[in-house]
Amino acid sequence: MATTITKPETLVGKRVRRTEDPRLITGTAIYVDDIKMPGMHHACIVRSPHAAARIKSIDAAAAAARPGVVGIFTGKDVAHLGAVPCAASLPGLRVPHHHLLAQDRVYYVGHAVAVVVATDRYLARDAADLVEVDYEPLPAVADPEKALAEGAPAVHPEWPGNVAFNFHQEGGDIQQAFREAEVVVQQRITSQRLIPTALETRGVVADWRPGENSITLYSSTQIPHLMRTMVAGILGMQEHRLRVVTPEVGGGFGSKLNVYAEEALMAFIAMRINKPVKWIESRRENFLVTIHGRGHVDYFELAARRDGTMLGLKLKLIQDLGAYHQLLTPAIPTLSVLMMPGLYKFKNISADIVGVFTNCVPTDAYRGAGRPEATHGIERMVDILAAELSMDPVDIRLRNFVGNDQFPFATATGLSYDSGDYAAPFRKALAELDYPAARSRQKQARAEGRLMGIGISTYGEICAMGPSPALPAGGWESATVKIEPTGKVTVLTGASPHGQGEETTFAQIVADELGVPMSDVLVLHGDTSVVQYGIGTFGSRATAVGGAALFYALQDLKAKMRKFGAMLLDSSAVTFSGGFCVDEQTGKSVSFAEIAVAAYHAKRLPPNTEPGLVSTHFWEPPNFTFPFGAHIVVSEVDRETGAITIHRYIAVDDCGKIINPLLVAGQVHGGVAQGLGQALWEQAVYDETGQLITGELTDYALPKAHLMPFIESSHTETPSPVNPLGVKGVGEAGTIGCSPAVVNSVVDALAPLGVRHIDMPLTPEKIWQLIQGGHA
C-alpha cells in the first residue's frame, strides 16, 4: 500500500474555466420556459392600463367562450388567499394588503387583474384581449417628492400623505460635528429608478399532483427555499408538500430575490384546473411588474474642517417605494444609511428616511441594493467638499480613510468593518493611471478648450449578507457534502447560484480540501427536495457564507476520513492530504476511494463512529464582510453634442481572497456595466399619470457592447477574518464603485464651466444643456 504521494497543485486562486458552461454553450441547459409537461396549460395575465383606478366590473364571458380556454380567475377567486409577502419590518411600517390579484382597485400600471388559462400560449393571449374591465380612472402620483406634497393623490386612500414609514438613525454627536465645522457643503443627489432587466424574464411552471397531494413549482428565482416557505404560507398548505425547483436562471440581479404574486397564483390555478400550468413573463410585463431598483432623492450635508477633515454627515433620504412592499422594499434604504460613511473615519452621522408610496411598481433589491446609492452620495459629497476647499480629490480621501491600525473599525452606523487597507487599491489605481501625468494632460486639454475629466471613487460595501439578526429570515447558509461509496463527491449548497459560477468555485474548494479531481465533484442546488434548507444567492453572499459552510462540512468529513484511515492503516497518527491518508511513521497510505468504500461497507468501524461519509453544516457568519476598492475614470465631453467618451476605466477591487480570478473579473466587468448603465443611460421614466414611458427594450437604454469601455481590472487581496476562506464577495463591487467615478469624472470635465453636480443618467442632452447654461 505504500505510494509515492506528490501534493497536487491547488486550484483555489487559479483561473479555471467553468464546469457550468458545456450545457450553456450548446443550448442544452434547461430554463423555466424550456419545461414542457403533458397536459400543460398556459396562463396570460390581464393587467391594468391605469396607474390608479376603481374596478367597476369585469366581463370575462367573451374570453371564456374562446376555444381552448379552461379558466379565468379574478380578484374574488383569490381573495381568501394570503398576501404577497413583505419580510422587512420597521417600526410603524404601513403594509398594504397585497392581494394576488387586484380586488376593487388598481394601484399601478401592470397591476394584475385577471388570469386567463388556455391550452395554448397564443389562445390564452387571444382570450386575454377579450376580457372587458370597466375602470374608473383616479388621480395618480408617480414622483415621490410630489407624492409628499400637500394635496397629492393618496396612493392608498386609507393613508393620505403617502408616507409608509419614517426611520431615523444617528451615531456619534452630529450637532457637535456641525458646530465644529468650518465648512458645510450641501447637495441634493438622486439615484434614479432602474429596471434590473435580467435577460431571462420571470417564469413559473406549476405541477399539481393530486394523488400525492403535492405541488412542484419550477421558478426562475434566487431563493427557492424561502419561496417554498412563503408560497406555502400564501396558499395555506404544508410547506413540505410544496417543492420549488430552480432550473437554469437567466440572470437575477436582485429582481428574482423575491416572491411575486405569480408563483402562488400558478400553484393555485394548477390545483383548480388539475393540470400543469405555465406562465412566462413578457418583456413588457417584466418592465411593468418586476421590481425596479434605486428610486432615491437624497439631501446630503457634509461638515468638515478647512483642512479637509470630514466631521459628520447628515442625510434626508426620500425612498420611492412604489405602490406596495415586495419582499424587502422598505429595508433597502436602511442599507444606504448603514454604508453612508463609506471608507471614512468620521464618527458622526444622522439619517432620516421617509418611505413614500407612489403609483408605480415597487422598488426592491437591485444589484447593490442601497449601497450604490450610499456610495454615490458620499463619493459625490467628498468631491463637492474637495472642490469647495480647492483640494485634490486624492488628498482629501487619503486624509479621511479609516487607518490600517483601526480594524476592526466601529462605524457611526453600528457596523464593524472587518479588515482593510483602503489606500492600497487606491494607490495602485493612481499608479496605473499615472495620476500626475493625467492631471498634466488635463491641464493641456483645458488650455486647448477641451473638456477632460478625471473622476475617482473609493468605495466600500457591505457583503456576505449576513449575520442572521440582520436578515428577516436568517443570514446563515448551508452545505451538505456527500462522499459517495465510489469516492465521488456531491455537494448540496443552500445558496442558489444563477450564473455566478459556484458549481466551479465550490468544486475548486472541494478539490483542494479532499485532494480529488474537480471532475469528481458535482455541485447541486436549487431544488428544495434535494437540497437542505438554504437562504439563497444575493448580497454577495454565496461564496462568503455558503462557501464557508462548505468548508466546515469538508473539515468534518476529513476528520471522519482520518478515523477510517487510521483504522485501515492500524495507526494512531495519520494525516490526510492530497487524496490519501498517510501513516507518517511507516509512510503507508490508503486512498480516498479505499476509505470511502470502507466507510460504506462498514465491515469494521472506528470507535464511536457511524458508517457513511455525509456532513451537513449550517454556518452562521459572525459579521458581514466589507470589500473595498478604487475606480478611476478618465472622460472627455464633446462640447458640440454633450456626448461623453470614456478614455480609461481603471478598477482596483479588493474582494478578499480570490478563488477564481477569471470569474472575479467577470463579476467586476458585469458590475461595472450595470453601474455605467445607471451613470450614463438607464432610467425608468414614469409620466405624470403613472405610465411607464420606458416600457420596452426599445425605450430603456441598456449598455451595449460598442458603448462599453475597456475595463482595466486588477486587485489587491486583503483577507477577511470573518470566514475561513478569507473571501469577501464581489458580485456587487463593480456596480457600487462605478457610478460616482463616472459622474465625478464628468463633473470634473465640466468644472471650468462652473458645474458642481449632475444627476444621473448623464445623457448627452442633459450635458449639452449644462454646457449651454454653464452651471448646474
Binding site: 450548446t26 437554469e248 467577470g666
Partner: protein
Amino acid sequence: MKRKLSLTINGKPYTDEVEPRLLLIHYLREVAGLTGPHIGCETSICGACTVMLDGRAVKACSMFAVQAEGRQILTIEGLASNGTLDPMQEAFWNEHALQCGFCTPGMILSAKQLLADNPHPTDQEIRHGLEGNLCRCTGYQHIVNAVKAAAGKAQA
C-alpha cells in the same frame, strides 16, 4: 387555417402544420423542441433568439415560421459536430464569455456571423458587430476576448 411547413433544421428535415401567425422562435422552441434559442424580448432588440437562416444570422422572434419554408436553419444545438465544440463555443468557454448563459446561444451565432463577414476584426469592430445582442451579465469584455480568440484560431 394551418399551413404545411417544410424546412431543414440542423441538417434534418422537418414537416409540420402550423398557424401562419406562429413566430419562427415559437416554432423552433415549442414545435421542433429546440430550446437552445431563447426569448428575451420579442421585439428584436436583445438577440437571444438568433439563429442562422441559410447561413445568415437572423432574429427568430421577428419572422413567422412559414417564412422559413424550404430554408436551412442552424440553431445552437446544431453547431457542435459529432460532439466536438465549434471553435467559437470553445472560445466562449475558455474566456468566460458567459455567466447566466441566457444570451449565449444567440451571442455565439452572431459572433460566427461577425467572423464570417470580417475574419480579422478589431476590438471596436467586434463590439459594433455584436450591438444587436444584449448581455446583462458580462459587460461584454470577455465576449470580445472570446471572439478575438476564435478569430485567432481560425487564422492559425
